[in-house]
């Protein structure tokens, strides 16, 4: 039976996006568990340094939300892979949709969950600080402002969001590629490890070190451009790969 109701692409995308937010609520519980483990591991494995002059020792314990952010990036990567799997793809057939609306709603979903992941990851700073204070036998808690301004905090928050979104984009692309060809599940890690090996063993200056490309960029504008361009390319390629998927 044919439907006479005309729906626009944006309406379909919004409907699919809303559906995914409700249907994939487990993503948020997973985020919560991942971050809780990150918080506890941050307390257990905090960094630090010490100095001793033979008569007394100064022991400095350092805690930060870095591990929580890294685990949130892994969570984003894994969830992005998960939503490209066949079981999740089939959910989209609940609506009258096409590949483009499917991809756009997935991207909107990933953007939203990454934003929530970023906010909660950054908010863990407080609980890490309190737990560090309670669990470690600390005499004095030092604060370091680094002369950081509100603008620096905002830029840092946005950079954190972009890092998590980069991880999600990588996961989405990897997920889509492996859906097109299952052989890539084995081939991709081999290629990535191989490239990493080449980077480490070769002194070729023309080869861009991927980690330095993102993690050593101190300019917020340059970092944003790099991250946004990478995200756009990643999602663009994902759309191209998804068009090669079999129809239902």
């Amino acid at each position: 039976m044919m439907s006479l109701t005309k729906v626009s692409l944006s309406n379909v995308v919004v409907m699919q996006f809303r559906y995914k937010l409700k249907a994939y609520s487990g993503v948020f519980l997973a985020l919560m568990v991942v971050q809780m483990i990150g918080i506890l591991l941050s307390i257990l494995g905090h960094g630090g340094t010490s100095f001793s002059n033979g008569m007394y020792t100064v022991d400095v314990t350092v805690s930060s939300p870095d591990l929580v952010i890294f685990l949130t990036m892994i969570w984003a990567f894994m969830n992005a892979i998960l939503i490209t799997t066949k079981a999740y793809r089939e959910d989209d057939f609940t609506f009258v949709s096409n590949r483009l609306s499917y991809n756009l709603s997935n991207m909107a979903f990933l953007l939203t969950v990454c934003l929530i992941g970023t906010v909660t990851a950054l908010l863990t700073t407080g609980i890490i600080r309190i737990l560090a204070y309670v669990t470690a036998d600390i005499d004095i808690f030092l604060t370091i402002t680094h002369g950081v301004t509100i603008a620096d905090f905002v830029a840092g928050g946005l950079a954190t969001f972009l890092f998590i979104l980069l991880a999600a984009t990588a996961g989405y692309l990897v997920g889509m590629m492996t859906q097109v060809n299952k052989g890539l599940i084995i081939l991709l890690p081999v290629i990535i490890i191989g490239l990493n090996y080449v980077t480490q063993s070769s002194s070729n200056p023309g080869f861009v070190n991927m980690l330095e490309f993102y993690f050593m960029e101190h300019s917020f504008i340059m970092f944003s451009i790099k991250a946004i361009v990478t995200i756009l390319i990643g999602f663009g390629l994902s759309i191209v790969f998804s068009n090669r998927l079999e129809v239902r």
């Binding site: 483990i37 008569m55 100064v58 407080g126 030092l142 604060t143 950081v148 950079a159 993690f215 300019s219």
Partner: protein, 234 residues
């Protein structure tokens, strides 16, 4: 007690894992509803918000950050070199943490310590007779932590001296001689954007605290080879 408290995070991780293992069977029968999931997540976010606010009221002290200890004159050479060149009198009294005037009429004095490995300066002077003066000068103590270098001298205890027979012993003032400091570092994306290294800048620890001992000129000073002792150039 502290050991037990420090194990709490590990116990919570084990509880989370066990909770998931036991819950797995229950989830297969009936998973959480959207309402329950939303509620749990809202509680989690609320806890994070409350703890963020509470953490702002934790007793804390602003760390004394040293921008570049290798460039600043204040952190180089310092008071030790000044005192060694005979300019002890120009050292500000605020830098002299402790001082002792000890009557001593012997011909030989032995300097000794079981652990003290910082500098000791000895000034032989005609101004003293029948007594020695000991000063403990505490200028700065840098400690490199991740990408920052901070001065922790205000948290370190002052040293003490004990005179027994003809031996001047440098001792630690407290039995419990570990000072536990802590700080919460910025998240790595923020440090990256303010131009700080993610992996530390290689600053080690160094400091400027030492004993300055004034003795009568005719007093012989003996000490072990492992002690760092210099004489004032006068």
């Amino acid at each position: 007690m502290a050991v037990i408290v420090s194990l709490v995070p590990l116990l919570i991780i084990i509880i989370i894992i066990l909770w998931f293992v036991t819950l797995k069977k229950r989830l297969t029968r009936k998973s959480l509803t959207l309402r329950q999931s939303t509620l749990i997540f809202i509680v989690y976010v609320t806890i994070l918000l409350i703890t963020t606010v509470v953490s702002l009221f934790l007793p804390s002290s602003e760390a004394n950050i040293i921008e570049d200890p290798h460039q600043s004159e204040e952190w180089n050479g310092g008071l030790y070199m000044k005192a060694m060149q005979g300019e002890f009198s120009s050292i500000a009294t605020s830098k002299i943490s402790r001082s002792w005037e000890i009557p001593y009429t012997g011909d030989v004095i032995t300097l000794a310590s079981d652990y003290y490995d910082e500098g000791i300066l000895v000034e032989k002077t005609d101004e003293l007779n029948g007594q020695i003066e000991v000063y403990y000068i505490k200028d700065w103590q840098t400690l490199g932590v991740n990408s920052v270098s901070m001065d922790v001298s205000e948290y370190t205890p002052d040293m003490d001296v004990e005179m027994t027979s003809n031996t001047l012993q440098f001792v630690s003032p407290e039995k419990e001689s570990t000072i536990h400091l802590a700080f919460n570092d910025l998240a790595f994306p923020m440090k990256q954007l303010i131009g700080e290294s993610q992996f530390g800048n290689g600053f080690g620890s160094s400091g400027s605290s030492f004993f300055y001992i004034r003795v009568p000129r005719n007093l012989n000073v003996e000490f072990s080879d492992y002690m760092y002792i210099d004489y004032v150039e006068n």
